[in-house]
């Protein structure tokens, strides 16, 4: 299981219900394949940086999922055949998240080492010093 973000742009002329229907379909593909949908974010209408299929605007939708590669492949195939979807991108996020965690733990360790009393957090030791 890996974490992915799937972002796609829907044609802005299609009604809201259509977008919900697309979301439902994609969600169905993920859950039926054994994946998990962590978040569905409708980012709303935005101006595109360049023209895509004669459109200057698009409705952005973001899926945050944890799934296998096969499921992602299937999602991409579905998105490709949908007429309303004009562009999509899949980004793997678990490696980046792991890297961030490492930085975070390193920083906390350093903060702990700096304060003279190791078990208190940096904020507490500052308060003690002020007293």
């Amino acid at each position: 299981m890996r974490n992915y973000e799937i972002m796609f742009i829907v044609n802005p002329n299609v009604p809201e219900e259509e977008i919900d229907k697309i979301n439902g379909q994609i969600e169905n593909v993920i859950t039926s394949g054994g994946g998990k949908v962590d978040k569905i974010e409708k980012m709303g209408k935005r101006r595109l940086a360049y023209e895509v299929q004669k459109q200057r605007e698009g409705y952005y939708v973001l899926f945050v999922i944890s799934a296998n590669g096969d499921i992602v492949k299937e999602c991409e195939r579905r998105l490709r055949v949908m007429d309303a979807v004009i562009k999509y991108i899949t980004v793997r996020t678990d490696e980046e998240a792991r890297r961030l965690e490492k930085i975070h733990s390193y920083r906390q360790k350093r903060a702990a080492r700096r304060s003279s009393t190791p078990r208190t957090t940096a904020g507490q030791s500052v308060e003690e010093a002020m007293q």
Binding site: M7, A49, Y88, I89, L100
Partner: protein, 84 residues
């Protein structure tokens, strides 16, 4: 900077140039995300190219992350490839 100016050997530039710092190191921005078009657009000059390091002062690890993020953002039409 007065003392540094006096020590400088002849032929070098006389004016003082402000040291450039990496924005991401200073502000402690760990992850450069492709969705943050507002942040990325600061590093996209007029012709929509990636701003070189010698101008922006971004350190090399962050420049690499920035480059990746910009390319992802371009792919999903958050940033332009070029100006029209």
């Amino acid at each position: 900077m007065k003392s540094a100016k006096e020590k400088r050997p002849a032929g070098q530039k006389q004016y003082y140039r402000r040291k450039k710092v990496c924005k991401f190191c200073v502000e402690r921005i760990d992850s450069i995300n492709y969705k943050d078009a507002k942040l990325l657009s600061q590093f996209i000059p007029e012709r929509a190219k990636v701003m070189p390091r010698r101008i922006s002062g971004v350190c090399s690890p962050h420049q690499r992350q920035l480059n990746d993020a910009i390319k992802k953002a371009r792919n999903i039409a958050l940033l332009p490839f070029t100006t029209e």
